[in-house]
Structures are given as C-alpha cells and as structure tokens.
Amino acid sequence: MRQITSDRLDATFLALADPTRRAILARLASGEATVTELAEPFAMSQPAVSKHLKVLERAGLISVGQDAQRRPRRLEGKPLAEVSAWLEQYRVAWEASFERLDGLLAELQQHAPPRSRRRRHGAPRQKRG
C-alpha cells in the first residue's frame, strides 16, 4: 500500500471528484456496460459520457473489454480500493471527529451566546510579552 505513486493517486482523486463519474463507477460495479448503456441513465450525450470515461480510464479505474464491436467498459477495482484505503480512511477518521465538532459548536451557540457567562470554557490564558 505504501508504494502507490502520488501521480496515480492524483489521477484517481481527480477522477473521483465528479459526481457523474462516481455514478458511472457505481453503475459499472454491477457489471460491464457500453458507452450507449452508460449514457442512458444520465441524460447525457455520448461524447459527454466518453469524456468522463477517458478521465476514468486514465486513472486506471476502468478498462475497455475485449469485444471490439461493443467496447464495453468495466470497473477496475484496484486503484479505487487503494485510494479508498489510503486517503479515504484518513478522511473518514477526520470526518467522524468533525461531525462531533458540528454538534459541539451547535450546542455552544445555543447555550452560551454571552461569552462572559461561560468562564469555565474561557480562552486559555496566554502569556504575553
């Protein structure tokens, strides 16, 4: 897991940054599909879908099947698994804390607008000069 190059990760993250591309990956997770089949649920033109597919292909997230006529796209799970295991776990751990912070901030704003009454949580004393 530690040998993944950052170029590879960058390409994967770029590919995953777009909701349409994530939806395409989700569709391919249930089996290979042609460009036409992939374009259908998205109400997008085939060239627009092809553009997304190129980004996904460059990131190694999908590949083109052997059938020369249909050229079906299929999911390549490895880069996604790598990247999800790598930064995604890190993100998930942070997000768990941040969601708690959301709750804490909401609580503090609700219960303690006048700051002077909340001595207990006063700012840490900073020595100056």
Binding site: M1, S6, S84, L87, R91, F98, R100, D102, L108, Q126
Partner: protein
Amino acid sequence: MVMTIDKAEVTSPSDREVLVRRSFKAPRALVYRAYTEPALLQRWLLGPPGWAMPVCEMDVRVGGRYRWRWQSDDGQSEFGFTGTFREVESLSRLVHTEAYDPGTLGDGYPGSEALVTITFTEAGGVTTVTSLIDFGSKAARDAAVATGMTDGMEQSYQLLDRLLAE
C-alpha cells in the same frame, strides 16, 4: 445520501503533505476555541468511534507545548501526539510541530516530526478550517496515512462500497 454540505475534503498537494479542509456553521472565534481549549478538544477530536482522549494539555503560545493522548474504550490500546507551537495568531492561524507516539499500536514512522499549519477563515457565518500537514518526507506521509490500517483489504473494500454508494 446524507445531506451534509460541509464534508471534509482531503487532498495531497505534494508528496509529503496532506491537506484537510472542513467548513463549520459557526463563528470563527468559537471554532478557534474548539481547536485550542482542552475541555472542548476532548469532546470532538476522537477519530473513529471507540476512542476517548484522556490526556489533552495545551499551552497555546509560541514555544508552548501540547500533549494529546487517546485510549481505546476497552483500555487495550493507546497512542498520542506531542508538539510545540511555532506560530500563534489568535483566531486565524496556528502552526505546530507534531510528533506521533505510536503507543501500543506499534505502527507509524518513528522519529519523524510533522509541521501542521491550521488556518481559520470566516465568511457569511461559516468558518473554514484548513490543516496542512507537512510530514517532511513522502515515506513519513504514507506511513502516517496508512496508520491504523490493521484490517487491510477487507476494510478498503468496505470503504469502496461506501464510496460507490455515495
């Protein structure tokens, strides 16, 4: 899909860095307090469920030290971070070193120290916190991010499911 407009964004701007960005619906002064007051930090800076933060000491001034230590709820595992504040601009910017103490986890990249730069900006009642973590080397960054991957591939496939379900 859960509607959260403020999901954490994690990117890797360079080989040795990780950038974490998150927005909060709260004034900057309050978010800054949540990042600097031990009693508040202990309530949120906990990572995945099942961990508590029994030790949180903060001396928020240039040259001041901090010490954070987490313990699993079953008491079997612990790890921590320690460091020194290099820059303190109240409400807007904190720079501190960060040394990882693997505790009982026996993981990580011993002897390395990261430099963490946290900035707080507020616009329209929303405060955005950006943490840039410079691990000093690619090896240290990769090790830090990989820390805790004890469940290996099984965990990554669960994450893959989650990612695809978004």
